[in-house]
Symmetry: C2
Subunit: 631 residues, 2 copies
């Protein structure tokens, strides 16, 4: 199997091979053959009488020692994956809620409220009266409401309940999946999946859905609070791929997920340009992004994206990366060893995420600016140790347009119809210029030739006039392949879609159409896409499960992706995954997730590793919904 | 390997064999060989690029696809087990906190405050002013404080901080392991163990300790609130083993962990005696206990214990069990199928714990009494379908003395020294009549011949004049084997210990000495033992890690046991486990847990599957501490 479809990644993979450094693809190959029980989800390690494993083909034991069936085991494992994913997203959100609280209380001078309008919008949405409150008072109230959403209470999680349609709320109430606290939903799943608690597979799946709705709240919180603190993204043009590294600059990569530190680094970097130049870097300090911290920096500061996910090690292997500063999530532990093979300074910053081999500079809101400078100085210092003979920066980089927050999209539509901005979108869906909407999300996965799932599917869907949105590593893949551009629209969009994107581009004063795919941000920013869908549903007076809106994670890898996929299904979306999640060991669970769940939530999973076939299924799902809507 | 050392269990196992019904031992055998990677803890399934497995002997891959080492993987898996155990205990506690709140608000008439003195003690301990408050107001304040402990806040979890020595608090602060919320500690571990977050094994272990301290709080909460709602246990004499089933009665087993429903059933059962008699059961309704719900019923109502843990299926196989009502935790899913083979009605009651094949009668505080009666009526109805030819109740039952709450123990000591009740205990420790104290806890485990670890160790330690306490399945094992009796003291206690237990028995007006082992309750009630240790430490002015107090879980099985073992070590106790937890795949982790941790917390794990050798190590640890104390 090809490792990557990305030319830059392939170029640097040759360096890895030459230097005999094992990257993730090598380590993955060394793991072969992987355990079939684990892949199928039928391995249970939830007590010390195990591990118990069930061969779904009936060879060997059919029950765990306690009597758990394959159905129970698969459901329990899936539940724990959702709980872990929720914990990650909401841990990120809770961090920002605490930052906002410190900002409001005057304890974090580096964190003023950047977007007062967003603060007011969010406050109003969750029912906090804004009148008569100063910005600081309002920020404090929002931060406290955010923190309250983590605790179990008698009312639903506010960030879940206030960001969906009434129809969804009714459905969630009906099936008992309304989360009343984010942390408590996680704990509940962990309790239910311990030895001898919940053995009913469908009951367990519903616990997973409840937790996934808490994940939706956590993601939405993370987006809202980041916008309040750092500004809501606006359209921005930048570049993507390893070619954004600059041989003449001190290159510092911002890697991880939470903008809480990286945004301050972005604000601070230029102050140290002169120091970098004095150290011999004629181009000063060059910040680049990796993974979703990269997406956050791109969305708000136009910081170019170096790479994402499976190819993160390649940034170091260019020999041109002077420092990599990381927060948390999706940061390969291998970076510790790899950085030691180069001059690259790997800097961990969060107490909850340390890596053997890395330097740790602890982050706190109180001294964020100072820490940001310390990190940049470490980069400059490391630059002095760079070995120019080992520098191999691939030339590849693509223009990348990003910054498509919900507000940006509505703003663009407002240029077409000031009084009723959603009307042009809906009109074009109704008249078929836009057949439907697909949100691309999720990771790269070493099992899939990097980016192949994303790019193949996007081209297929664009041809069929499906409006494409993207976040996270998906957006990263599209950026690397030049699909976040006007040119891509011209080349790949069907006529109807091209017309709409061109009209919007013209109205926005661009020289060409909007990009083929709208980059909405990091993986928590999937909620931006959800907000657009909710607004359209509310305007049409139909529920989400009736809209011709679908989602796809063709190369999903993390437990976070499982959590997001689950809430997408609960939100009513046909949701494609291009890798097989560990559920096939239970025919019952597989059937519930791909078929029966449709009767409950309207959404369902489509599992298909072939991008063209998968795109076909999504087009079919869109067509079916259009027909049901009578359009 | 023998399946059980218990004669009653062995008798019923013959029935299982005759009827060709597979019980846990059969299903466990069918799982052989179990996966070595899972047993060693080196299998990672925390993302969909796995499962990755590392052979600790260096055959095959040495790193996961992401670069995670065996150290990281083992630490992550251990962390998740602790999080799950914490979620179980604290889910139980949260349930009771909500019950107490409903009681205080007048919404749950079946739940009056039974123990006002305990309510006041608990309130005072956590800093709630009691003066001028009605009992209802105080109950509300305690319930709200309990619920607040689940949420992240700026202050430590009250139920953790107020139930330890100042020395422990200082140590916990020093190593950054003070939990500030129970649910949030669980979520933090789940976040840290997702793909690409914490890779530092020691940092991960400390996250596990922090979560385990949240588990301590959850356990303590469960004990305190159950005492407030249902009364603090007092000494009680009852019986244990399958022989407590009565061929002439409607036999109803109370199984699970939370007394919230079973206590109401205990209060209600006699009301339906006549109905049972009318149905032909001349002995009326006979409630028996299984697992920790059984322990709760034994401690407060003298309900006899039928069995525990691995032998729970055997209660059904007697053919004499008419109904088994379960709440949650340690309830084998196999019971659903087994009950269908008999007339036994398996009744699930909690929305979070359903079992395929069971009838579900949903519990709520608002209609608990009504539900209790409905359940008993189901038992009576099932009795009518009982096939007398299939009834095989083993004759074995042992007298069992229980009810040794902290208050009971202090009460007994008060009879020796009214003004200074701890003095006689301390004096006897100092003079060597009591060499030290050992708390037996944890489950049975199908890997260990049932009860063999518990009974062998207890006899060895008693001979060496170690005062023995027990909870959970350990107490169950001792009950079955007649060790919770005065006779056992006479037979097995060393002279010093015998003298003390005899003096206490005499003072209490018993005909003989206190039992060889003091049954302190269910597994959450391990905190009762901790309270005694804290009181002694405070009186002596030394920290817990200096006391000659040890703990042992010779047959541990659940993730809950891992959480408890971890807090016992953090509390400073040498803590024995008789099965090998899934950590041996990392020499680093194994060494930290058994050696290096001593330098941090004073406590450490002793892993030894041989009970005699293990008892020797505990006696040695006690001797070492005595020497260090100069006694």
């Amino acid at each position: 199997m090809e490792r990557s479809t990305d030319a830059a990644s392939r170029a640097v993979l040759q360096i890895a091979e030459r230097e005999a450094y094992d990257v993730i693809w090598d380590r993955f190959e060394a793991q072969a053959p992987q355990c079939g029980f684990g892949e199928l989800g039928t391995c249970c390690r939830n007590c010390m009488q195990g591990p118990c494993r069930i061969d779904p083909f009936g060879e060997g034991a059919t029950l765990g020692a306690c009597g758990a069936t394959a159905d129970t085991i698969v459901a329990r494992n899936l539940g724990r994956a959702i709980a872990a994913g929720t914990a990650a997203h909401s841990g990120h959100a809770k961090h920002l809620a605490n930052t906002l609280l410190k900002s409001a209380e005057g304890k974090a001078p580096d964190y003023p409220i950047k977007d007062e309008a967003k603060l007011k919008t969010v406050a109003a949405r969750i029912g906090i009266p804004t009148e008569g409150k100063s910005i600081q008072e309002l920020a404090k109230a929002v931060a406290e409401a955010a923190l309250a959403d983590f605790s179990e209470k008698e009312t639903p999680v506010a960030w879940a309940a206030s960001n969906v349609t009434q129809g969804r709320i009714d459905t969630f109430v009906k099936y008992g999946v309304v989360p009343t606290g984010i942390d408590s939903a996680i704990s509940e799943v962990m309790h239910r999946t311990t030895y001898g608690v919940d053995a009913d597979p469908v009951n367990l799946l519903l616990a997973g859905v409840k937790c996934a709705l808490a994940d939706y709240a956590g993601c939405h919180l993370a987006t809202d609070l980041a916008d309040i603190l750092f500004g809501t993204p606006k359209p921005v043009v930048s570049a993507a791929n390893l070619g954004v590294l600059n041989a003449d600059a001190v290159n510092i990569a911002l890697h991880g997920h939470n903008p809480v530190l990286s945004d301050i680094i972005a604000q601070t970097a230029s102050e140290l340009d002169e120091k970098a130049k004095s150290a011999g870097a004629s181009a000063g300090v060059n910040l680049v992004g990796i993974c979703c911290t990269g997406n956050e920096g791109l969305m708000r500061h136009g910081i170019p994206s170096a790479t994402h996910s499976v190819s993160q090690e390649l940034a170091v292997l260019t020999g041109a990366l002077d420092a990599m500063v990381v927060d948390y999530q999706c940061i390969m532990p291998s970076l510790g060893t790899l950085a030691e093979c180069y001059h690259t300074k790997l800097i961990t910053t969060m107490p909850i995420a340390k890596i053997p081999g890395a330097s740790h500079i602890e982050f706190s809101e109180e001294k964020a600016g100072e820490t940001a400078k310390e990190i940049i100085r470490e980069g400059i210092e490391a630059f002095g140790r760079r070995d120019p003979k080992r520098v191999n920066i691939p030339s590849h980089q693509s223009t990348t347009m990003a910054g498509f927050s919900t507000e940006t999209i509505v703003g663009a539509l407002t240029l077409l119809n000031k009084g009723d901005p959603l009307k042009p979108l809906i009109d074009n869906i109704v008249n078929g210029n836009i057949q439907g909407v697909c949100l691309f999300a999720g990771c790269n996965n070493v099992r899939v030739t990097q980016d192949s799932g994303f790019t193949s599917m996007a081209k297929e869907l664009a041809k069929q006039n499906v409006l494409l949105l993207a976040t996270g590593c998906g957006a990263g893949a599209f950026g690397r392949h030049g699909l976040l551009t006007s040119d891509a629209t011209k080349e790949y969009a069907g006529d109807g879609l091209k017309g709409v994107l061109t009209a919007l581009g013209q109205a926005a004063g661009l020289e060409g159409p909007l990009p083929l795919i709208l980059h909405m941000g990091s993986c928590v920013d999937n909620t931006r896409a959800a907000d657009v869908a909710v607004a359209v549903a509310n305007k049409l007076g139909v529920d989400l499960d009736k809209l011709p809106v679908v989602a796809s994670a063709p190369e999903a890898a993390t437990e976070k992706a499982i959590a997001i996929g689950t809430w997408a299904v609960a939100a009513g979306l046909p949701t494609h995954v291009g890798i097989v999640p560990p559920v096939l060991g239970s025919a019952t669970i597989a059937k519930v997730l791909t078929e029966d769940v449709k009767g409950l939530f309207g959404g369902y999973f489509i599992v298909d590793a072939d991008p063209v076939s998968a795109a076909g299924k999504l087009v079919e799902a869109i067509g079916k919904r259009r027909k049901e809507l009578g359009i």
